[in-house]
Assembly symmetry: C2
């Protein structure tokens, strides 16, 4: 048991006693099946390392060509036996082929960058149509919110939308040319959101489970956080598409939907936290501070 100064600055159990509105925990407990969406195994990657599995949900509605190429690479076993090549503190962890010598079989070497996509907000088939805008101001984009449980932003003037570089976002490393990325080297954001990368690089999805396996990697001591020696790199056992993994070996996850009344209530609970601990209400929530809950399906 940890007493007062040990428990510290987080919601305590008795905090909800004085609350006038439901807390995030209350909302999740009272949530219905319809508040959750099962991850589609066709768009879910398992990155398996010795210490465990990182589950990534891909977002083909935001980056169809890049997602297709990543799936092609995964299906040809491209990543199996490769490694984490970079861990840059307060920025990103990145994986791929340290020597960049591995052959591509069916995957393309160059894929057009998909930094933004057209809004298409009237297309009911389009998951972008589910964009739920936050009322909060954002310095990086005219509108921010969530689409299909991904943090996203929009610009009505240019009629574009894009996934944002929040913690856990997965992006396609590239060189100076916009088509120089192909998905063979991917990174996960493991620090304070580098939103300056938004609209400069293709974001293809988000880690839904296991981000701590990437964020707690020892930091690389080379330039930009690359590892300098082969033995510093954490090996990747395999990267597989969930649909290619036998049912019994899958990690079945549901993500909280972001187009529901309960999600709006959750955002409000986090915007102005209540309970005995909080003395000052922020009356604001920054896009990347909005939690997107995930649960394991039993």
């Amino acid at each position: 048991m940890l007493s007062t100064s040990g428990v510290v600055f987080a919601q305590t159990k008795n905090a909800s006693a004085k609350a006038s509105k439901p807390s995030m925990s209350d909302i999740l407990k009272a949530s219905q099946a319809s508040d959750w969406r099962l991850l589609n195994p066709e768009n879910t990657l398992y990155l398996d390392m010795e210490k465990g599995r990182v589950v990534i949900e891909l977002a083909p509605e935001f980056a169809p060509k890049n997602v297709a190429n990543i799936k092609a690479l995964v299906k040809e076993g491209y990543f199996d036996g490769l490694a984490m090549i970079r861990s840059h503190d307060n920025y990103v962890a990145q994986w791929g082929d340290p020597g960049e010598k591995r052959e591509f079989k069916n995957a393309a070497k160059e894929v057009e960058g998909e930094f933004t996509v057209k809004l298409n907000k009237h297309d009911k088939q389009d998951k972008q149509a589910t964009f739920t805008q936050l009322p909060d101001v954002d310095g990086y984009a005219p509108q921010v919110g969530h689409a299909n449980s991904f943090a996203a932003a929009r610009d009505p003037k240019t009629q574009t939308t894009w996934l944002t570089h929040c913690y856990g976002a997965i992006g396609v490393a590239r060189g100076n040319e916009t088509n120089s990325g192909n998905g063979s080297s991917l990174y996960a954001v493991t620090g304070h959101a580098p939103r300056n990368l938004d609209r400069n690089i293709t974001v293809v999805g988000r880690v839904r489970q296991g981000i701590e396996l990437l964020s707690s990697l020892p930091r690389g001591t080379g330039a930009l956080g690359f590892y300098e020696k082969a033995e510093e790199r954490t090996p990747i056992k395999s990267v597989r598409l969930a649909s290619d993994v036998p049912e019994g070996e899958r990690t079945k996850l549901e993500v909280f939907r972001t187009d529901t009344a309960n999600f709006k209530a959750l955002v409000e609970a986090q915007r102005n936290r209540e309970g005995e601990w909080y003395k000052f209400a922020a009356n604001h929530i920054e896009l990347c501070n909005v939690p997107i809950p995930v649960r394991v399906v039993k």
Copy 2:
């Protein structure tokens, strides 16, 4: 050597070729002695662990009573032999006495929370007077910027100023009562800035070197990221005030001043990055994305 897709999304060496204004790297290279401030050994803590040293600069001008009590605890050897007790992914690492049984000698058990301080902007002796405001919008505070090389915010209406919870900020853990913290358990922000904590807890300083030793700790699997077993906790060899450490064992650091023309230029370089890699200029910088450079004095 890493070629294009490996180098990825960071300033490349040839990026500066096309730049029309100096990059951060250019500004630092051209900086003068007057752009830097040597850390005062009287306000610098060394947290030594087996893997290395974390250097923390205290900010007595923002939290005089809490800083004084932390220094009293350090001087009586309170932290020596204690441990990291918590590592909460994308949030904080925290240290202290897991059992909370260690005796206090001279330090106080209860210290008034110093969540904000009065502006005193006309007091030339007051380091808060050096507040350099960012022109960028912020959702959490009416004004944000830097004071004495700390990220800070101000509210002219209430005539208050406070240190913000950016990556690397050090805070005083507390229970529900505002005077329940005393500095015997401290935390460092190791994830996306939890700015909702601003004005709710006492921020006493910032890590100036070695944050990666805290941010890469294995995550605790207990509630709130506390470690469940004693053997999971990383031991602390000692926490000492730099001024109590023999000259030869000190880590001499200078921090970039934030009240200079060169700091303004640095912020502008980061707000709109140039070079061949960037295709879209953010034209914005979020407070916690502003780098505050540190260098080792030879």
